[in-house]
């Protein structure tokens, strides 16, 4: 027996729409039924004129309910029409076909001799032919398996809809994962089987999907028949930039180095030209030949600027012909993360600024310094956004909640110091400690110092036998660095070691998060340091809609499906930064088809296409009675009937 299926609103929405309209109609009906009270001179005349009015009151009420009933029927018909209902084929008639199409980056690979046709183009063509052969009672769904699964077309028995969805398939620039899409296919098949329809999932892939074997096994366990159809061609040649990254030298943030990795997935040696551009200016070019299966890593120092957008490109040594089957991985970009501005609070004695400290902090333009006296600090009179506090010759009684650098602690506060010692020297140094990177303190002359009293867990970085002069540790889960003497009473400020020691201390206390770099891998979560609450990413050379990203605790997390350069726009201002995305996936760049058990080749699969389960001789899109039109017509007819009967007095 055939049932009804809905193409528009679902039954709950229809019920809600009917409920709302029925309530409104009933209220209006009750309002209409409320009789007006009118005083007339001689009611007996009405009694004589309408003798049946009282005797047939019950019947009259029943008649009047007819009006309400008719209006409710009208509302029901309109609500049902909103669902676009139609007669569903009987259970068991027709089959359900779930088409899962791999849209990972490797599906962009051009086919040899295909005139520029890609793997996805070929699959698309095959699927359109497949759809055209479906029976009238068959239903089909189209799922895309990219970095994430996407339902391109839900289950439909309208062949044109499925064909349109297949034509709209586009390969992403990201690696694909088959688990999610195949899990959805399994769910669809379960639903179909509950309706006693045979269901089959067909996966069209080049084999590059991650987790394909496990997902397929899960389907087979659930009894869902799965066909895997592989795109044609065995090992198309491909070389790729599988890694490109840039970083600052830790010891010298003003310099950068570049790491580049090239991989060859070609069956033969591949000559190529490598070009590196910095902000569009060519800075390196070389020609090399990659052996089959070779992986070449190169680092370049002082080749690019720290703020530059770096582009690496592979090209054939001569001519403009494509280098290989997949152009996507022949270009990669890199961008250094901008240095974060550190927000410092310097607490000094009232009216006694430390010029040497001030001069050292002025060297780094990425420092935001606010100065306060100890009294104002203790009152909390300072900006709340400070990340680090420098105590210069003062020590508050309570340990700070921020990482701190203490210069010449007084011993009257949270940091314990020993008795003053005269003319201390740095006899002992832990040279490997980050605080002493590029710093030598052995011959520094000091007038006096009060050595740091260490607690368990503290580290004595430098000092002498009488006590520790430079220490680091943790107080109340907050790190600190302490220097036991007043630099104004030493010759340390005269040395280059002084500002470097300060910067080492700041770097130790506020390390940069190197994971928040603006270079992302397509299809994977990218974390970007972003102080604005939200921003948009606009891909250069792409008319696609901007991608909105949101920041939480100064970090924005997002995924990019397309490789390339994105302008980061915050507060509707012009682009102030760029974010780059690269494929950077050896699995996607490897274009050879892996052996998959039971997989069919696309050409074989098409020739071995089973006959449709039913209705092959019918039109692909079965003509169906437009029930919603009939329902609307019925509603109109009922409305007209109600109107006529009301004016005839039958329903009043």
């Amino acid at each position: 027996m055939s049932g009804l299926e809905l193409l528009g609103l679902g039954w709950p929405e229809i019920a809600a729409a009917f409920g709302l309209s029925a309530t409104a109609i009933t209220l209006l009906y009750l309002v209409r039924r409320r009789r007006r009270v009118v005083t007339v001179p001689f009611v007996a005349l009405f009694a004589r004129a309408l003798p049946d009015e009282r005797t047939t009151r019950l019947f009259s009420r029943l008649k009047s309910l007819l009006s309400l009933l008719l209006l409710l029927l009208v509302a029901a018909a309109i609500a049902a029409a909103l669902g676009l209902p139609r007669v569903a084929p009987p259970p068991g008639e027709g089959r359900t076909l779930v088409l899962v199409v791999d849209v990972s980056a490797s599906m962009q690979a051009r086919l040899a001799g295909g005139g520029g046709e890609t793997r996805l183009d070929r699959v698309r063509r095959a699927l359109l032919a497949r759809i055209a052969r479906l029976g009238a009672s068959d239903r089909v769904a189209v799922l895309a398996a990219g970095a994430r699964a996407d339902v391109v077309e839900p289950l439909t028995d309208e062949a044109p809809l499925a064909a349109r969805a297949i034509r709209a398939l586009r390969a992403s620039d990201a690696p694909g994962d088959g688990r999610e899409a195949l899990a959805w296919a399994r769910d669809l098949c379960r639903d179909a089987e509950r309706e006693r329809r045979p269901c089959e999932a067909e996966l069209y892939t080049d084999g590059g999907l991650r987790s394909l074997a496990e997902a397929r096994a899960a389907l087979e366990e659930d009894g869902v028949s799965t066909r895997v159809v592989l795109t044609p061609e065995g090992e198309p040649p491909n070389v790729a930039i599988t890694a490109l990254s840039a970083r600052r030298f830790p010891a010298d943030p003003t310099r950068a180095e570049l790491l580049l990795e090239l991989s060859s997935f070609a069956p033969a040696p591949t000559p190529l030209t490598l070009s590196i551009a910095s902000d569009g200016r060519l800075v390196h070019r070389e020609t090399l030949t990659l052996a089959p299966g070779a992986r070449l890593r190169r680092t370049f120092s002082d080749l690019v600027g720290v703020d530059a957008l770096i582009e690496a490109r592979l090209a054939p040594p001569e001519g403009s012909a494509p280098l290989d089957a997949l152009a996507l991985d022949d270009v990669a970009h890199a961008q250094l993360a901008p240095r974060r501005r550190r927000r410092l609070l310097v607490v000094s004695p009232e009216g006694s600024a430390n010029l040497y400290l001030g001069a050292a902090l002025l060297i780094d333009p990425y420092l935001d310094v606010v100065e306060r006296s100890l009294a104002r600090y203790e009152r909390g009179d300072y900006p709340s956004d400070r990340e680090l506090v420098v105590f210069d010759r003062v020590t508050p009684p309570i340990a700070p909640r921020l990482p701190s650098l203490s210069l010449a602690p007084t011993g009257a506060g949270w940091l314990e110091v020993g008795a003053p010692i005269a003319r201390p020297r740095f006899d002992v140094e832990r040279a490997e400690h980050p605080l002493l990177a590029f710093v030598a303190l052995r011959d520094v002359n000091i007038a006096a110092a009060r050595p740091i009293v260490l607690r368990p867990g503290d580290t004595s970085v430098a000092g002498e036998a009488r006590g520790t002069l430079l220490a680091t540790g943790v107080r109340g889960d907050v790190p600190f660095v302490a220097l036991a003497f007043d630099v104004q009473e030493s010759d340390l400020p005269m040395r280059i070691a002084w500002p470097i020691l300060v910067f080492d201390a700041l770097s130790l206390l506020l390390p940069d998060d190197l994971t928040l770099a603006p270079t992302c891998a397509s299809g994977r979560v990218c974390r970007l340091g972003l102080e604005a609450p939200s921003a948009t990413l606009v891909r250069r050379g792409d008319a696609a809609a901007p991608i909105a990203i949101a920041s939480r605790a100064g970090v924005a997390s997002f995924e990019l499906d397309r490789v390339g350069v994105y302008d980061l726009v915050t507060d509707a201002r012009a682009a102030d930064r760029v974010v780059v995305a690269n494929l950077a996936s050896s699995d996607e760049s490897r274009l050879d088809l892996p052996p998959i058990e039971g997989a069919e080749r696309l050409d074989e699969a098409l020739t071995a296409e089973p006959e449709p389960a039913s209705g092959a001789d019918e039109a692909p899109s079965r003509a169906r009675w437009p029930l919603h039109v009939a329902l609307l017509a019925a509603a109109l007819a009922l409305l007209a009937f109600e109107w006529i009967t009301f004016h005839r007095g039958w329903t009043t």
């Binding site: 009789r35 009118v38 005083t39 007339v40 001179p41 009611v43 005349l45 009405f46 004589r48 009043t652």
Partner: protein, 309 residues
Amino acid sequence: MKGAAASPDDALFDASFERKLEGLALVARRVFEGRFRAERRSRREGGGIEFADHRDYAPGDDFRFVNTSLFGRTGKLYVKLFEEEEDLSVHLLLDVSRSMSSSTMGESPTKLVVAKRVAAALAFIALSGLDRVSVTAMSGAALSTLAAVRGRGRIHAILEHLRAHPEEATGGDGATDLEAAVRAFVTREKRRGLAILLSDLYDPRGFEGAIDRLRHARFEVVVLEVWDPREATRLGTGDLVLVDSETGERREVSLTPERLALFERERARLRQRIAAYCREKQVAHAAIPIDVPWDESVLSLLARGGLLT
């Protein structure tokens, strides 16, 4: 009666009303000169100049009226009787029950207002003809009577009486009981004459009894049926609770144009019955629709002749 408030008292008989009265009186004099009085004589025998009959002499009779020539021929004493010519008494009987003052939409004067104006006009015309005029308001079985007045100058007394809510002065319950009211009227009123009944005749007990009572009491009866042509159409259609203005009886009806037409037919039947009954009993009858200006209605009454003549 509160229903009269639909038309403010001041507007009931305003200056234009009085001007129209003057005009009507003039017209009435010109058209009915001599008829109103001369042709409406009382049948009372008495000291007039027109011979009426003879009767046997009885002790105490004025000897001057003994017909001596007849005594000479017959040898018996007969006294000559003369038809006494006296002033015509016009009794205006005004139905002031609530049905007269109920107004469905309040957009036009009520039947009571129109009836008062017509009554005032007739009173003025009668007073102009030197007739005696009395006004009796009837509500239920109760009456409120302005004793007969004479002379044109007394019209103001009548207007004041009509203006002063005589429907309340009756002390009646506002229901219509024409027969009981007329019975009370004829019992009280010894002076026969012209009785003009102004009413919508919406009486659950029937209108016939009141007319018959007047006839049997030897009043010359004129029935002026005041009616509202738009009484039904003002209700509109839909579900209504109709409340009788007098009895308070409620009736739920669902009015449609067809049902309104049924009501109109029923009312037409009632009006036809009133007219037929008056015709049968040789009682003058005229309808006064309230959507026609009152002065036109009065002129129409005068023009019909025979009604007041």
